[in-house]
C-alpha cells in the first residue's frame, strides 16, 4: 500500500502563490509544533537555547571589553567581586579575574567558541557518519561488514578517550606548536571522529529498510546513479532520527569540548572556551574567588541542560509510537 501516490500537498495548493505563508502555515499546523506548544518546559528550553546562541553571536556588541585583548585589561581591576556584592564595581556585572578580565565578557566570548566547536563537531560527525552509513547500508556486503566492525569496536571506547587520543596525536604530529585556530580545528576533528558511529548505525538501519521499497527500485530502473539515489531519495527518509541524534549530540559535543579544555587538552588560555574558563577559574576557588569559576560553570550547565531538554522532546515528538 505504501506505493500508492498520496497527493499530500493538495491542501496547500491554493496558496502556492505565497510560498512563505503556506510554509509558515504548514509549520504552525504540524504535529510537532502542536506538541511543542503543549510542553512549557520545551518552550523554556528552546528560549534559553536561542538566547545562548544570540549571546554568542552578538558577543562583541554586548561585552564591555574584549577580554582577550591585553591592551584593554587593567590590573587595577583584578579580582573584583560581582556587582551585587559589597565590593562590586560598575561595569563588571559578574566580577573580574586575576588579570582584570570581565567575567561576563569572557563568558560571552567563551560561549561563542564552545558553540562553534560544538556545532562544527556535530556537522563533521554527522557528515562522516551519514556518508559511511549510507554506503554501508546501500552497498552492503564486505564494505558494510568493514564499516560496521570499525563502528562496533569504536563504540566500546568512550568518546572522551578517543577525543583525547586524537588530540594528543595531533599535538605530537604538529610538534606541540598549534595556534588557537588550528587547535579549534583539531578539536572539531577529535569530536567528529568520536561521535560518527551513532549516525552511521542509524542511517544504515533506515537505508536497509528503505532500499527494498518500490521507489528505490523505480529510481534504479530509470537509470539514476547510485550516489544520486542515496542522497536525493533514500537520505531524506532517514532524516527524522538523525535530527534527534544531532540535537543530543550537540550537548555531548559541547560537554566533550569543555572537558578537553578543562583537562588542558583543548582551547588555550589565549582563546578560551567555557571549559578553559572553568579550568582557569578553578585555580582561584580556594582563594574564595568563586565567581571566576561559578558563572562559566552555570552558563555551561544551563546551555547543556536546555539542549538536552530540546533533544528529549524532539525524540518523543518524532516517535510515532508515542503519539
Amino acid at each position: 500500500m505504501s506505493d500508492a501516490v498520496v497527493p499530500h500537498r493538495v491542501e496547500s495548493s491554493p496558496q502556492r502563490a505565497r510560498p512563505n505563508a503556506s510554509w509558515l502555515n504548514r509549520v504552525l499546523d504540524s504535529d510537532i509544533f502542536y506538541s511543542f506548544r503543549r510542553s512549557r518546559m520545551t518552550m523554556v528550553a528552546a528560549a534559553v537555547t536561542v538566547l545562548f546562541f544570540l549571546l554568542a553571536i552578538f558577543a562583541s556588541q554586548l561585552a564591555v571589553q574584549n577580554p582577550f585583548d591585553p591592551a584593554q585589561l587593567q590590573l587595577m581591576n583584578s579580582r573584583i567581586s560581582p556587582l551585587w556584592t559589597a565590593e562590586g564595581q560598575s561595569p563588571f556585572l559578574l566580577g573580574t579575574d586575576e588579570q582584570g578580565r570581565d567575567v561576563f565578557s569572557a563568558i560571552l566570548y567563551g560561549l561563542r567558541i564552545s558553540l562553534v566547536v560544538g556545532v562544527l563537531g556535530v556537522i563533521f560527525a554527522g557528515t562522516l557518519g551519514i556518508t559511511l552509513g549510507l554506503i554501508a547500508g546501500y552497498v552492503g556486503g564486505a564494505v558494510d561488514g568493514l564499516i560496521m566492525r570499525i563502528a562496533d569496536v569504536q563504540l566500546t571506547f568512550p568518546a572522551i578517550l578517543i577525543a583525547l587520543l586524537v588530540n594528543g596525536v595531533a599535538k605530537s604530529v604538529f610538534n606541540n606548536r598549534l595556534d588557537a585556530v588550528s587547535t579549534l580545528a583539531v578539536l572539531v576533528v577529535a569530536i567528529g571522529l568520536s561521535f560518527w558511529v551513532q549516525y552511521a548505525r542509524t542511517v544504515r538501519g533506515s537505508v536497509m529498510v528503505e532500499k527494498n521499497k518500490d521507489y528505490v527500485a523505480a529510481a534504479q530502473l530509470i537509470g539514476l546513479p547510485a550516489p544520486k539515489i542515496m542522497l536525493r531519495h533514500v537520505l531524506p527518509n532517514t532524516m527524522g532520527p538523525i535530527l534527534v541524534i544531532a540535537t543530543i549530540n550537540l550537548a555531548l559535543a559541547i560537554i566533550t569540548e569543555a572537558t578537553l579544555s578543562f583537562l588542558g587538552a583543548g582551547m588555550p588560555d589565549t582563546m578560551p572556551s567555557l571549559g578553559t574558563l572553568i579550568r582557569i577559574g578553578n585555580n582561584y576557588l580556594f582563594a574564595g574567588e568563586w565567581w571566576i569559576v561559578a558563572f562559566p560553570g552555570i552558563a555551561l550547565a544551563g546551555l547543556i541542560l536546555a539542549i538536552n531538554l530540546l533533544g528529549d522532546w524532539l525524540r518523543d515528538a518524532l516517535n510515532p509510537k508515542l503519539r
Binding site: 566500546t156 583525547l164 596525536v169 605530537s172 578543562f262 560553570g297 547543556i304
Partner: protein, 326 residues
C-alpha cells in the same frame, strides 16, 4: 556455546591487534621519538646512536613485531617526561584507579537500583520527581563541574573532606589501598560520588524502565491473581528479572568508568592512571599514551568478553538465539 565463546575470543584478539597497530603507529609515526629523548643541541652522531639503540632503523614490520612482543610482556618503553619505564608508572598508579572505579560502581549500583525501583513503584510521588531531577542533572552536568561543586561545598566552605590526593595509603604487596585508613576513606568519598553519578543515573533510568516493562507482563498479572503479596511480586519476581540487563550494563560500563576516571582524577588530583594519561596528552608523552590505550583496551575487551559469556549463562533464552554475527 563453545563455538560462541571461541568466536567471541577470536574477535577480542582481533580488536586487541587492531588497537596494537594504532598504538604502535602513534608511538612510531606521531612525531620523532628521537627528538623527544635528546636535547636540542645534541650532535647528529649522538642522535644516530640513540636511533640505533631504539631500533628505529629496522624495517617497520620488524619494529611492529618487537613492539608487540614487548607489549605482551607489559614493556611499553620509557616515558619521555619521567625517564622511567612506562609499565612501572602504570603499575604504581593502577590500584588508585581501580579502587576509585570499584567504589564508584558499587555506589552507582546500590543507589541507582534503589532509586530506580522506588520511582517505578511510586510513579507520582515528590521523591520520584526529585530523583528524576537528580538524574537530569547527572546527565547534563559535566563530570568536572560536579567535582568542582563538591570541592567548593565540602572542602572550601565546610572543610569536611580533603580536596585532593588519596590520603594515607597502606601497602599490601605491590598494591596500595586507601580503604584501610580514615584519611584514605575520607579522600575517596567525593571522587567516588563524582565518578559514580553518571552511572547512577544511567542505572536508575534503566531499572525504572525495565521495572515498568516487567510490571506490565502477564506473569506479574498472574502472580497478582494468585494472591501473592505485593512485596513478593515486586522484589521476588519483578526486580529479579530486571537485574539481568542492569548487571550487563553495569559490567560494560565498568570500562567507561575507568576511562571517565581521567576527568575525576584530574579534578581531585587523584594519583591514578587517568591523571598520568592527561599529563601525557598535555606533554605529548607518546609512550604513556600508547601504553594507556593498550591497557584500557585490554580491560575493555576482557570485560566485554566476560559479560557476553556470562550473559548467555545467566539468560538461557539467548543460548538458542545466538545468531548475532556482531
Amino acid at each position: 556455546m563453545l563455538a560462541f565463546t571461541l568466536r567471541r575470543a577470536i574477535q577480542a584478539i582481533g580488536v586487541m591487534i587492531a588497537v596494537g597497530v594504532i598504538a604502535f603507529s602513534m608511538f612510531r609515526f606521531a612525531g620523532d621519538p628521537v627528538n623527544q629523548i635528546v636535547s636540542l643541541d645534541t650532535p647528529a652522531a649522538e642522535r644516530e646512536a640513540v636511533r640505533k639503540s631504539l631500533g628505529l632503523d629496522d624495517p617497520v614490520p620488524v619494529q611492529f613485531a618487537r613492539y608487540f612482543a614487548n607489549a605482551a610482556q607489559f614493556k611499553f618503553g620509557v616515558s619521555y617526561q619521567f625517564r622511567q619505564p612506562v609499565s612501572n608508572l602504570l603499575m604504581e598508579r593502577m590500584p588508585a584507579t581501580l579502587e576509585l572505579a570499584a567504589c564508584a560502581t558499587v555506589l552507582a549500583m546500590v543507589f541507582g537500583i534503589l532509586m530506580g525501583v522506588y520511582s517505578a513503584l511510586r510513579r507520582d510521588t515528590i521523591l520520584t520527581k526529585f530523583f528524576q531531577a537528580v538524574s537530569l542533572i547527572g546527565i547534563s552536568l559535566p563530570t568536572f563541574l560536579i567535582g568542582i561543586l563538591l570541592i567548593y561545598l565540602f572542602s572550601v566552605t565546610l572543610g569536611w573532606l580533603p580536596s585532593f590526593g588519596r590520603g594515607e595509603v597502606v601497602r599490601i604487596g605491590w598494591w596500595t589501598t586507601g580503604l584501610l585508613t580514615l584519611s584514605g576513606l575520607k579522600a575517596l568519598i567525593m571522587p567516588s560520588i563524582t565518578l559514580g553519578l553518571f552511572q547512577m543515573t544511567l542505572i536508575m533510568r534503566l531499572v525504572r524502565a525495565e521495572m515498568l516493562e516487567v510490571l506490565r507482563t502477564d506473569y506479574i498479572r498472574f502472580a497478582r491473581a494468585r494472591g501473592l503479596t505485593t512485596r513478593a511480586i515486586h522484589f521476588g519476581h519483578a526486580l529479579k528479572n530486571t537485574l539481568v540487563p542492569v548487571i550487563t550494563v553495569a559490567g560494560l560500563q565498568f570500562g567507561s568508568v575507568i576511562a571517565f576516571a581521567i576527568i575525576t582524577e584530574t579534578v581531585f588530583q587523584w594519583p591514578g592512571m587517568g591523571l598520568l594519561f592527561v599529563q601525557a596528552v598535555q606533554n605529548v608523552d607518546i609512550p604513556i599514551m600508547a601504553a594507556y590505550l593498550l591497557m584500557v583496551s585490554l580491560i575493555f575487551v576482557t570485560i566485554n568478553l566476560v559479560v557476553d559469556i556470562l550473559y548467555t549463562v545467566v539468560d538461557p533464552r539467548l543460548r538458542s538465539t545466538i545468531r548475532r554475527p556482531a
